[in-house]
């Protein structure tokens, strides 16, 4: 592979109690791919992302972002958590949430100013949410909330984006809007890693895929490895999807 490696994961093992959720994961994600992580419920997909981002502490293993530790490369990485992980009745506006994406580069104590606000407005525009900038977040639809989260990550202007089920519970319009943004990111040579549930759309949306079920089953280009064999190994049943190649 001539491409640079964006994310390198070595021997990653994570356990919540006694049972490992992730077992000895080795994974190399090349720069500029749009990658889906697929696997059944409880396969450790979200856990993988959270461990890379340092939200969870792994038992063993290491993660490097462009060859250096995540702590040093934080500014290169953006995160879109699951929509359901926050309280949307929080008293704040759409613009305010997107502004949070600038907090990291601001660092402690410094307040966001005109420059940060401008960046946030641009990100809102990008996801088609500019008309809703002053809307209280509880009054947004599920799809709109997801777009706000995406805009917040876009503001970070990162090189690598981790997204936890960005398509969950959104309507078709939002799904198309989101995938177009992801494809635009890939075009700009950004690396996008997405926890994804809908196997049918994998070949259409993604060019790279990782099969995960506690252990890594396979990783590589969708056209080479997205086949019944790997799906069966991952999901444990004889999975047949008609895949247009």
């Amino acid at each position: 592979m001539s491409k640079k490696t964006a994310v390198q994961i070595d021997d990653l093992t994570v356990a919540y109690n006694y049972k490992p959720v992730l077992w000895d994961i080795d994974l190399e994600i090349p720069e500029g791919v749009l990658m889906a992580i697929v696997g059944p419920n409880g396969a450790g997909k979200s856990t993988l992302i959270k461990s890379v981002l340092g939200i969870l502490k792994p038992i063993a293993g290491s993660v490097s972002i462009y060859g250096k530790s995540y702590e040093k490369q934080r500014s290169l990485v953006a995160y879109v958590p699951q929509k359901g992980s926050v309280d949307w009745d929080f008293p704040t506006t759409a613009l305010d949430v997107v502004m949070m994406g600038t907090y990291g580069s601001l660092g402690w104590v410094k307040r966001p100013r005109q420059k940060e606000k401008k960046a946030a407005l641009e990100a809102l525009e990008q996801v088609g949410m500019l008309p809703f900038k002053n809307r209280q977040i509880s009054q947004l639809s599920g799809g709109q909330q997801q777009r706000i989260f995406l805009a917040r990550a876009l503001v970070q202007d990162a090189s690598i984006y981790f997204m936890d089920e960005p398509f969950q519970g959104v309507d078709a319009t939002t799904e198309i809007a989101i995938i177009n943004i992801l494809k635009a990111l890939r075009k700009a040579n950004k690396t996008v890693i997405v926890v994804h549930h809908d196997l049918q759309t994998v070949p259409e949306y993604f060019d790279w895929v990782t099969f995960l079920n506690v252990k890594k089953i396979a990783t590589g280009p969708v056209k080479d490895i997205f086949n019944d064999d790997n799906l069966t190994k991952t999901y444990g049943i004889n999975y047949k999807v008609s895949i247009q190649k």
Partner: protein, 375 residues
Amino acid sequence: MDLLEYIELVINDYTLRTITLGTAILGAVTGMLGSFAVLRKQSLLGDAISHAALPGIALAFLLTGAKESNTLLLGALISGLIGTFWIRGIITKTHLKSDTALGLILSLFFGFGILLLTFIQKQPNANQAGLDKYLFGQAATLVESDVWLMAIVTGLCLIVLLLFWKEFKILLFDKDYANTLGFNTKTIDILITSFIVLAIVLGLQTVGVVLMSAMLLAPAAAARQWTNSLSMMVFLAALFGAFSGVFGTAISATQNNLSTGPVIVIVASVFVIFSFIFSPNRGLLFRQIRFIKNRRDLELHKTLSFMFNIAKTHENISHPHTIKILNNFQGYTKGTLKKLVDKNYVTLNGNMWSLTQEGFETASNLYNQQLKKDE
């Protein structure tokens, strides 16, 4: 006693002035900090902390033999902090939910505190009387130095809030995300929790262990009803808290010396009830009014579109029809017809109705308009 006389009394009377200032400052700082507790869904944290402070007060007395309030409050602070960090420990180390952890620590510490208090009461020592004032609070024992201490802590709290506003906000809204941005959420969390403990401990002398959590929750719950902005909520909560203190003191001072702490809490609860009912967006009253109005509008629109469907079968849209056919339609009442006439959508002629040009256009655009509104 009228209002002016009372204000004059507050200015001139040392005790009343001290209590009024003290309760106002206390209300403001607990209101501010309470907003954070409420938004983190840690409403009961205040209750647990205040109860956890009780054994500290008793132990401080047993160890020093002094009844000086600062010493006792230091004891309260220490045991309050221990209780708080035990709660955190239980939540992170076991699978127990936070309400269980809060309940456990609350009852354990409070039980131990009461045990110590009864032990102290049995001691042959004349100095012991009065420790139980910390149970329900006794504002009358406030002295100027207590108020100064409250003012200093409130000032500090304000500075910290202003400095770390964005950090607090992001911690409250999305802790994991804050972590990925490089903020040490544990530090922010400890900072804010420590201030909550400090504020509660300062209030024990005035409001007491049992009622203290209301000072934290009531102003914040009331403030949430009026605004959708975090800064406004914190500001309003401080304001409501301060007013609860001032009004509560006034009522207790003028009405035969009712116990101040409980009166303050009741005043704060009145703020809550008032806000629940009368706040414009979230309040029950206006919600109900909006609900009824929406229903009426919908009924009106349905009737209009029913008429529209009849009218459009004729070439001349203003062709008159008999009112009787409207009786087939469920949403129709005489009132809706009158309203349609008032809006100039329909004209009546005897027992015949006809759509106006305006009514016809409105009706044909009705569904499109609703789509636009939904967007």
